[in-house]
Protein backbone atom coordinates (compact mmCIF):
# COMPACT_ATOMS: atom_id res chain seq x y z
CA UNK A 1 0.00 0.00 0.00
CA UNK A 2 1.02 3.56 -0.52
CA UNK A 3 0.32 6.69 1.47
CA UNK A 4 -1.51 9.11 -0.79
CA UNK A 5 -1.10 12.86 -0.62
CA UNK A 6 -4.86 12.99 -0.12
CA UNK A 7 -4.41 11.09 3.16
CA UNK A 8 -2.35 13.89 4.74
CA UNK A 9 -4.73 16.53 6.02
CA UNK A 10 -4.22 20.12 7.13
CA UNK A 11 -6.77 20.57 9.89
CA UNK A 12 -7.64 23.34 12.25
CA UNK A 13 -7.13 23.61 15.97
CA UNK A 14 -10.02 23.60 18.42
CA UNK A 15 -9.72 27.31 19.14
CA UNK A 16 -9.76 29.13 15.80
CA UNK A 17 -9.88 32.84 16.62
CA UNK A 18 -11.46 35.65 14.67
CA UNK A 19 -10.00 38.38 16.88
CA UNK A 20 -6.97 39.21 19.03
CA UNK A 21 -8.65 38.38 22.34
CA UNK A 22 -9.84 34.78 22.07
CA UNK A 23 -8.18 31.54 23.11
CA UNK A 24 -6.05 30.19 20.25
CA UNK A 25 -4.78 26.71 19.40
CA UNK A 26 -5.50 23.54 21.35
CA UNK A 27 -6.07 20.02 20.07
CA UNK A 28 -6.98 19.07 16.52
CA UNK A 29 -10.56 20.11 15.78
CA UNK A 30 -13.29 17.56 15.17
CA UNK A 31 -16.54 19.13 14.03
CA UNK A 32 -20.12 18.05 13.40
CA UNK A 33 -19.38 16.11 10.27
CA UNK A 34 -15.67 15.50 10.59
CA UNK A 35 -13.08 18.20 10.76
CA UNK A 36 -12.33 21.61 9.49
CA UNK A 37 -9.79 21.81 6.78
CA UNK A 38 -7.46 24.62 6.09
CA UNK A 39 -7.32 26.57 2.95
CA UNK A 40 -9.49 28.30 0.45
CA UNK A 41 -8.39 26.99 -2.93
CA UNK A 42 -8.75 30.16 -4.97
CA UNK A 43 -9.81 33.53 -3.66
CA UNK A 44 -11.93 35.60 -6.04
CA UNK A 45 -9.65 37.64 -8.30
CA UNK A 46 -12.17 40.47 -8.09
CA UNK A 47 -15.14 40.95 -5.78
CA UNK A 48 -17.75 38.45 -6.95
CA UNK A 49 -21.15 36.93 -6.26
CA UNK A 50 -20.74 33.27 -5.30
CA UNK A 51 -22.86 30.17 -5.72
CA UNK A 52 -22.88 26.73 -4.15
CA UNK A 53 -23.97 23.33 -5.42
CA UNK A 54 -23.50 19.63 -4.82
CA UNK A 55 -22.77 16.78 -7.22
CA UNK A 56 -25.49 14.75 -5.45
CA UNK A 57 -29.16 15.60 -5.93
CA UNK A 58 -29.90 14.55 -2.36
CA UNK A 59 -28.09 17.48 -0.76
CA UNK A 60 -31.15 19.63 -0.10
CA UNK A 61 -31.33 19.84 3.69
CA UNK A 62 -28.12 21.54 4.71
CA UNK A 63 -27.34 25.19 5.12
CA UNK A 64 -24.12 26.59 3.73
CA UNK A 65 -22.59 29.64 5.38
CA UNK A 66 -19.90 31.80 3.81
CA UNK A 67 -18.07 34.44 5.81
CA UNK A 68 -15.82 36.90 4.04
CA UNK A 69 -14.98 40.48 3.30
CA UNK A 70 -16.78 42.62 0.76
CA UNK A 71 -14.96 45.06 -1.49
CA UNK A 72 -15.11 47.67 1.27
CA UNK A 73 -13.29 45.36 3.69
CA UNK A 74 -16.39 44.76 5.80
CA UNK A 75 -16.97 41.26 7.14
CA UNK A 76 -20.17 39.78 5.73
CA UNK A 77 -21.96 36.50 6.42
CA UNK A 78 -24.47 34.81 4.13
CA UNK A 79 -26.30 31.51 4.59
CA UNK A 80 -28.24 29.61 1.93
CA UNK A 81 -30.06 26.27 1.82
CA UNK A 82 -28.55 23.74 -0.56
CA UNK A 83 -30.60 22.63 -3.56
CA UNK A 84 -28.77 19.51 -4.71
CA UNK A 85 -27.37 19.74 -8.23
CA UNK A 86 -28.82 23.21 -8.77
CA UNK A 87 -26.51 26.09 -7.98
CA UNK A 88 -27.82 28.37 -5.24
CA UNK A 89 -26.60 31.94 -5.56
CA UNK A 90 -25.44 33.83 -2.47
CA UNK A 91 -26.99 36.92 -3.90
CA UNK A 92 -26.86 39.32 -0.99
CA UNK A 93 -23.11 39.74 -0.83
CA UNK A 94 -20.29 40.49 -3.23
CA UNK A 95 -17.32 38.66 -1.72
CA UNK A 96 -13.82 39.98 -2.27
CA UNK A 97 -12.20 37.52 0.13
CA UNK A 98 -13.61 34.31 1.65
CA UNK A 99 -12.68 33.57 5.25
CA UNK A 100 -14.73 30.44 5.81
CA UNK A 101 -17.08 28.12 3.98
CA UNK A 102 -19.07 25.77 6.23
CA UNK A 103 -21.97 23.35 6.28
CA UNK A 104 -24.27 22.61 9.21
CA UNK A 105 -24.62 18.85 8.80
CA UNK A 106 -23.61 15.72 6.92
CA UNK A 107 -23.76 15.69 3.14
CA UNK A 108 -23.94 13.23 0.27
CA UNK A 109 -21.85 14.75 -2.52
CA UNK A 110 -18.91 17.04 -3.08
CA UNK A 111 -20.00 20.59 -2.22
CA UNK A 112 -18.51 23.30 -4.40
CA UNK A 113 -18.38 27.02 -3.75
CA UNK A 114 -17.63 28.91 -6.95
CA UNK A 115 -17.88 32.24 -8.69
CA UNK A 116 -21.36 32.76 -10.12
CA UNK A 117 -22.30 31.77 -12.80
CA UNK A 118 -20.39 28.46 -13.17
CA UNK A 119 -17.08 30.23 -12.66
CA UNK A 120 -13.81 29.43 -10.90
CA UNK A 121 -14.04 27.10 -7.90
CA UNK A 122 -13.27 28.90 -4.64
CA UNK A 123 -13.30 25.83 -2.38
CA UNK A 124 -14.76 22.34 -2.12
CA UNK A 125 -16.04 20.33 0.83
CA UNK A 126 -15.12 16.81 -0.26
CA UNK A 127 -17.38 13.82 0.18
CA UNK A 128 -14.48 11.98 1.78
CA UNK A 129 -13.42 12.75 4.34
CA UNK A 130 -16.39 14.90 5.29
CA UNK A 131 -15.36 18.36 6.40
CA UNK A 132 -17.40 20.78 8.43
CA UNK A 133 -15.73 23.83 6.99
CA UNK A 134 -12.81 25.28 5.15
CA UNK A 135 -11.17 28.31 6.65
CA UNK A 136 -8.32 30.73 6.23
CA UNK A 137 -5.92 31.61 9.03
CA UNK A 138 -5.47 35.02 10.64
CA UNK A 139 -9.05 36.07 9.99
CA UNK A 140 -9.76 39.76 10.56
CA UNK A 141 -6.09 40.53 11.16
CA UNK A 142 -4.92 44.06 10.50
CA UNK A 143 -1.76 46.13 10.67
CA UNK A 144 -1.13 49.21 12.80
CA UNK A 145 0.04 52.52 11.45
CA UNK A 146 2.89 52.88 13.92
CA UNK A 147 4.01 49.51 15.27
CA UNK A 148 4.40 46.00 13.85
CA UNK A 149 1.77 43.48 14.91
CA UNK A 150 2.69 39.81 15.32
CA UNK A 151 0.06 37.09 15.63
CA UNK A 152 0.23 33.33 16.14
CA UNK A 153 -2.26 30.69 15.07
CA UNK A 154 -2.16 26.92 14.98
CA UNK A 155 -3.15 24.08 12.69
CA UNK A 156 -2.41 20.36 12.64
CA UNK A 157 -1.12 18.07 9.93
CA UNK A 158 -2.82 14.67 10.31
CA UNK A 159 -1.69 11.35 8.87
CA UNK A 160 -4.79 9.36 7.93
CA UNK A 161 -3.55 6.43 5.88
CA UNK A 162 -4.89 3.39 7.69
CA UNK A 163 -2.33 0.73 8.50
CA UNK A 164 0.55 2.78 7.12
CA UNK A 165 3.42 4.66 8.72
CA UNK A 166 4.84 7.90 7.40
CA UNK A 167 8.60 7.68 7.86
CA UNK A 168 10.87 10.70 8.35
CA UNK A 169 8.00 13.17 8.13
CA UNK A 170 8.92 16.80 7.64
CA UNK A 171 6.88 19.98 7.78
CA UNK A 172 8.00 22.78 5.53
CA UNK A 173 6.87 26.25 4.67
CA UNK A 174 7.06 25.98 0.90
CA UNK A 175 5.97 29.42 -0.22
CA UNK A 176 5.30 32.75 1.44
CA UNK A 177 5.07 35.29 -1.37
CA UNK A 178 4.56 38.29 0.89
CA UNK A 179 7.25 37.28 3.44
CA UNK A 180 4.91 37.64 6.39
CA UNK A 181 4.87 34.05 7.70
CA UNK A 182 7.16 31.73 9.67
CA UNK A 183 6.30 28.36 11.16
CA UNK A 184 7.23 26.30 14.18
CA UNK A 185 6.18 22.76 14.99
CA UNK A 186 5.30 21.44 18.40
CA UNK A 187 7.74 19.40 20.45
CA UNK A 188 5.49 16.32 20.45
CA UNK A 189 2.79 14.80 18.27
CA UNK A 190 -0.92 15.19 19.09
CA UNK A 191 -0.21 18.46 20.84
CA UNK A 192 -2.93 20.33 22.74
CA UNK A 193 -1.14 23.55 23.64
CA UNK A 194 -3.10 26.76 23.40
CA UNK A 195 -2.33 30.42 24.03
CA UNK A 196 -4.56 32.96 25.75
CA UNK A 197 -4.87 34.96 22.55
CA UNK A 198 -3.16 35.11 19.18
CA UNK A 199 -0.90 38.00 20.19
CA UNK A 200 0.86 35.74 22.73
CA UNK A 201 4.02 33.85 21.78
CA UNK A 202 3.49 30.08 22.17
CA UNK A 203 6.11 28.88 24.66
CA UNK A 204 8.94 26.63 23.53
CA UNK A 205 8.27 27.05 19.81
CA UNK A 206 11.04 28.09 17.41
CA UNK A 207 9.83 29.81 14.26
CA UNK A 208 11.76 29.36 11.03
CA UNK A 209 11.23 30.52 7.46
CA UNK A 210 10.98 28.65 4.19
CA UNK A 211 14.70 27.80 4.02
CA UNK A 212 14.54 25.40 6.95
CA UNK A 213 12.79 22.00 7.09
CA UNK A 214 11.49 20.75 10.43
CA UNK A 215 11.26 17.04 11.16
CA UNK A 216 8.39 15.62 13.17
CA UNK A 217 9.61 14.40 16.59
CA UNK A 218 10.14 10.61 16.80
CA UNK A 219 10.57 10.40 13.03
CA UNK A 220 7.33 8.51 12.44
CA UNK A 221 3.62 9.26 12.04
CA UNK A 222 1.11 6.44 12.23
CA UNK A 223 -2.52 6.60 11.17
CA UNK A 224 -4.47 9.10 13.22
CA UNK A 225 -1.46 10.94 14.59
CA UNK A 226 -1.05 14.63 14.03
CA UNK A 227 1.60 17.27 14.49
CA UNK A 228 0.72 20.76 15.63
CA UNK A 229 2.12 23.63 13.62
CA UNK A 230 2.16 27.21 14.83
CA UNK A 231 2.30 30.05 12.32
CA UNK A 232 3.63 33.51 12.99
CA UNK A 233 2.19 36.37 10.96
CA UNK A 234 4.31 39.52 11.10
CA UNK A 235 2.62 42.65 9.77
CA UNK A 236 4.99 45.64 9.63
CA UNK A 237 3.81 49.08 10.69
CA UNK A 238 1.61 50.59 8.04
CA UNK A 239 1.36 47.34 6.10
CA UNK A 240 -1.25 47.92 3.38
CA UNK A 241 -4.18 45.56 2.91
CA UNK A 242 -3.38 42.66 0.63
CA UNK A 243 -4.69 39.24 -0.30
CA UNK A 244 -1.84 36.82 0.14
CA UNK A 245 -1.23 33.13 0.76
CA UNK A 246 1.28 30.78 2.24
CA UNK A 247 1.85 27.13 1.47
CA UNK A 248 2.77 24.42 3.98
CA UNK A 249 3.66 20.83 3.23
CA UNK A 250 3.87 17.59 5.22
CA UNK A 251 6.04 15.09 3.39
CA UNK A 252 7.79 11.82 4.16
CA UNK A 253 8.35 8.30 2.96
CA UNK A 254 6.38 5.10 3.31
CA UNK A 255 7.68 1.55 3.56
CA UNK A 256 6.36 -0.84 0.92
Amino acid sequence: MTILASELFAQGATSDPIDDFSLTGGTIFVGITGSNYFGITTQPAVASVLEVLSDDAGDTNDNITVVGRDSGGNVQTETVLMNGLSAVILGSTVFDYVQSFSIDGGYLGNITLRISVAGVTVATLPIFPQMQKRVTMFKNSFSDALVPIIRYEKMHWRMASSGETLVSPEVELIADPSSRIRQGITVAKNDSTSIVNRRTVPPGVTFVDDSVAQAVPSGLMTAGENIGVWYEQNLPAGDPANKSTFTSQLSGQDIP
Binding site: I174, R182, V187, P203, G204, V208, V212, A215, T247, Q249
Partner: protein
Protein backbone atom coordinates in the same frame (compact mmCIF):
# COMPACT_ATOMS: atom_id res chain seq x y z
CA UNK B 1 11.59 18.64 33.85
CA UNK B 2 12.55 18.82 30.19
CA UNK B 3 15.33 21.28 29.49
CA UNK B 4 15.01 24.02 26.85
CA UNK B 5 17.90 22.47 24.94
CA UNK B 6 16.22 19.08 24.75
CA UNK B 7 12.96 20.72 23.65
CA UNK B 8 14.74 22.44 20.78
CA UNK B 9 16.61 19.28 19.82
CA UNK B 10 13.40 17.24 19.86
CA UNK B 11 12.53 18.88 16.55
CA UNK B 12 15.37 18.23 14.07
CA UNK B 13 15.78 21.20 11.74
CA UNK B 14 17.82 21.25 8.57
CA UNK B 15 18.82 23.91 6.08
CA UNK B 16 17.20 23.16 2.72
CA UNK B 17 20.00 24.79 0.74
CA UNK B 18 20.51 27.46 -1.90
CA UNK B 19 18.36 27.53 -5.03
CA UNK B 20 20.14 25.96 -7.99
CA UNK B 21 19.03 28.86 -10.15
CA UNK B 22 18.06 31.94 -8.15
CA UNK B 23 16.74 33.64 -11.29
CA UNK B 24 14.05 31.03 -11.87
CA UNK B 25 13.43 29.93 -8.27
CA UNK B 26 10.91 32.64 -7.42
CA UNK B 27 8.88 31.86 -10.52
CA UNK B 28 8.99 28.16 -9.65
CA UNK B 29 7.63 29.01 -6.20
CA UNK B 30 4.77 30.92 -7.76
CA UNK B 31 4.07 27.96 -10.02
CA UNK B 32 3.99 25.67 -6.97
CA UNK B 33 1.40 27.88 -5.31
CA UNK B 34 -0.69 27.81 -8.49
CA UNK B 35 -0.46 24.02 -8.62
CA UNK B 36 1.44 24.00 -11.92
CA UNK B 37 4.37 22.06 -10.47
CA UNK B 38 4.39 19.83 -7.37
CA UNK B 39 5.40 21.21 -3.98
CA UNK B 40 8.13 18.57 -3.81
CA UNK B 41 9.98 20.57 -6.45
CA UNK B 42 11.04 22.95 -3.67
CA UNK B 43 13.75 20.46 -2.70
CA UNK B 44 14.55 19.37 -6.25
CA UNK B 45 15.30 22.96 -7.23
CA UNK B 46 17.82 23.45 -4.42
CA UNK B 47 21.42 22.40 -3.89
CA UNK B 48 20.96 20.16 -0.84
CA UNK B 49 22.61 21.48 2.32
CA UNK B 50 21.33 19.63 5.40
CA UNK B 51 23.12 21.79 7.96
CA UNK B 52 21.80 21.14 11.47
CA UNK B 53 19.95 24.41 12.02
CA UNK B 54 19.42 23.63 15.71
CA UNK B 55 23.12 24.43 16.21
CA UNK B 56 22.39 27.97 15.08
CA UNK B 57 19.28 28.23 17.27
CA UNK B 58 21.17 26.99 20.33
CA UNK B 59 23.88 29.59 19.84
CA UNK B 60 21.42 32.40 20.67
CA UNK B 61 19.64 33.16 23.94
CA UNK B 62 16.10 31.84 24.40
CA UNK B 63 14.55 35.27 24.49
CA UNK B 64 11.93 35.34 21.76
CA UNK B 65 14.04 37.65 19.61
CA UNK B 66 14.21 37.61 15.81
CA UNK B 67 17.52 36.77 14.14
CA UNK B 68 18.66 37.10 10.56
CA UNK B 69 21.39 34.52 9.99
CA UNK B 70 23.44 32.97 7.22
CA UNK B 71 23.84 29.21 6.97
CA UNK B 72 27.47 28.45 7.77
CA UNK B 73 27.49 25.61 5.25
CA UNK B 74 25.72 26.92 2.15
CA UNK B 75 25.48 30.65 2.83
CA UNK B 76 21.73 31.03 2.34
CA UNK B 77 20.16 33.88 4.26
CA UNK B 78 17.37 32.90 6.59
CA UNK B 79 15.67 34.04 9.77
CA UNK B 80 14.22 32.57 12.92
CA UNK B 81 12.59 33.58 16.18
CA UNK B 82 14.23 32.16 19.29
CA UNK B 83 11.89 30.27 21.60
CA UNK B 84 10.92 31.48 25.04
CA UNK B 85 10.27 29.13 27.92
Amino acid sequence: MTSPISIIKAVPRFCKGQPMNPKTFDQAKRDMVRGLIPLSADKALRIPCGYDFNKTILSYPFDGADHNVICPRCGIETSFKSPIF
